[in-house]
């Protein structure tokens, strides 16, 4: 039971990380209807920028600021040079363009900042919290807990931003209705640039957390890909959905990884590790059959 709790909590905490990536997707999708496949690559770029700048001698805080600047510029450039040119194309073309964007980043970032895997030290140690270990005998990493705290803080900040600032309100209006947003008096293109900037910021936070936890390396983009099934489960337009979906995926894939292989082994013989690699996707697939609009998405009937 203790072991089960440990796996579950570990899974939930890594689910927080998925949620962080998924959040970036949701923001862009809500505001511009673009499904940004490159969000994972942006996480990689952000983490690489931080370690890259630190290698050149910048202290952590400066590296983070520089990385933020890079992400913002990058987001604005993407909006200006790619997405704006594709406004009237079908969504699928935009989606494919963001796949191109992901490759662009994955080629460029290591050329600039180097491709060797590196550690990112945020000064938070990845060790069990003694109090919890003593009280319940469960191993919970301090780092994971901090990550969860950061995620909560980020979501709260974003929620406040959307609720109480003029730009935030404009962003929400855009999500509902492009025409209405225009009447607020902020050009649509500025709004999109801002959204890409924010998505870059979210990617930076996710990149810091992921990078510190697993090292900054190319494999990050694969982990980030798991935000896609998270979105299917949570619904593409829902921030709470991204969080709940992330937790669900994180917990279930860890449980599956621990508890399924022995069962399969007794059935078929052989070694069945690596279930984590596909479990979220197949789970999402089954989810689609039951609730195609996601947990928090709205049912939609095409208008004709």
């Amino acid at each position: 039971m203790q072991f089960f709790m440990e796996v579950l909590i570990g899974g939930l905490l890594s689910g927080v990380m998925y949620a962080l990536v998924a959040l970036g997707f949701v923001l862009i999708y809500k505001a511009s209807g673009v499904f940004n496949f490159a969000q994972g690559a942006m996480v990689y770029l952000a983490a690489l920028s931080v370690v890259g700048c630190m290698e050149k001698g910048a202290p952590l805080w400066l590296a983070i600021i520089l990385a933020f600047a890079i992400m913002t510029l990058f987001g604005i450039a993407t909006e200006k040079f790619v997405l704006r040119k594709l406004v009237n194309q079908p969504p699928i073309a935009l989606f494919m363009a963001t796949i191109g964007l992901a490759f662009f980043i994955e080629g460029l970032a290591p050329m600039v900042f180097g491709s060797a895997p590196r550690a990112l030290d945020l000064g938070i140690v990845d060790e069990p919290i003694p109090a919890i270990l003593d009280a319940w005998g469960i191993v919970i990493s301090k780092f994971d807990l901090v990550a969860a705290g950061v995620a909560a803080l980020l979501v709260t900040t974003l929620a406040l931003f959307f609720q109480y600032t003029r730009i935030g309100r404009a962003l929400r209006a855009v999500a509902d209705d492009h025409q209405a947003a225009l009447s607020i008096g902020i050009p649509l293109q500025h709004i999109w640039a801002i959204v890409w900037g924010i998505a870059g910021f979210v990617a930076l936070v996710a990149g810091l957390m992921w990078g510190a936890r697993n090292g900054v390396q190319f494999a990050l983009t694969f982990t980030a890909l798991k935000a896609l099934p998270v979105l299917i489960i949570g619904g593409f337009t829902s921030v709470p959905g991204a969080i709940v979906g992330g937790l669900l995926i994180g917990a279930s894939e860890k449980l599956a990884e621990i508890y399924l292989p022995p069962v399969m082994q007794s059935l078929f013989g052989g070694n069945f590790g690596g279930i984590e690699g596909w479990f979220p996707y197949v789970l999402a697939l089954f989810f689609l059959l039951v609730r195609p609009e996601g947990l928090f998405g709205e049912k939609h009937i095409d208008r004709v």
Partner: protein, 358 residues
Amino acid sequence: MIYREAGQFKTSYAADQQLFPIRQDRIGILILLAVVFLAIPGIASEYWFSAILIPFLIFSLAALGLNILTGYAGQLSLGSAAFMAVGAYAAYNFQLRIDGIPILISFGFAGLTAAGVGILFGLPSLWIKGFYLAVATLAAQFFIVWCLTKFPWFSNYSSSGVISAQKVVILGHEFASPREKYLLVLSIVAVMALAAKNMVRSSTGRAWMAVRDMDVAAAVIGIRLMPTKLLAFAVSSFYCGVAGALYAFCYLGSVEPDGFSLDMSFRILFMIIIGGVGSILGSFLGAAFILLLPIFLDITLPWAAGLLGLPFSNATVSHIQILLFGTLIMFFLIVEPHGLARLWQIGKEKLRLWPFPH
């Protein structure tokens, strides 16, 4: 009178519906067939067959498969490589487990097996569209490769799922040399390309395109969405499956599941984006482009770096390659969404008017 349709009046709809209505195109195709079937086998070297021509044909076939699904039926897939894997492993097992089964039958069954798996993973397309579906096909990509690696039966209990393809013997003759394998692959690809062309120019293809362009209107016209989409998944996976079987039997000889990676699926997707979404010709042009670009870079980049005195590593080549792929995808989507095939079309149009540009 170089490339004109002037004077070639069509007196019946039958004449108008020919595969190549313009006489010069028909002559062109005949010349092309003569070149690829007769001239190339005479002059190309072993290297050309096994490193360029055979993979080119096989990837063209896979791209054609994806183009049927994505280009014609509008259903995005990121799992083409996995369906190739299904084809490769199915062909291997049919050869292994059914005594004396002809290899071409195995290839056909491999295609059918892939088609079955394709239908299974295509089922979500009945509820969902676009990028939702893309995520569902990612499930196919990861799950299939994992299954092939982990269930030892598929690879006849070899280590880590590696299989070595059996000999290719047809009517007692073994296709051993690269030249013979090239001719075999070429014949299969030519026949399947013709079949694909026939499908897309008839009501099967029109149903696919209708679903792609506006599914509600398609349904209102009487097109049943479910069978139409699933047929696209089945035919597409069939093509990818046969391509996978050829990949194992006529190209690499021995393959492992991890070789059919997500990266390969992306490459096939890039082939159709650059070659031309919704174009048979485009599948071939795109495959050629995506296969030749890395070779071109491998040759020119070290040379260019040397010339400029820049530091240079192999990692850089692969990064530049990835960067270029990404840039080209965005470039084509923005500037010429119909890809190289459209450029070819425009070129022909110009030629038709030449030398009077009106």
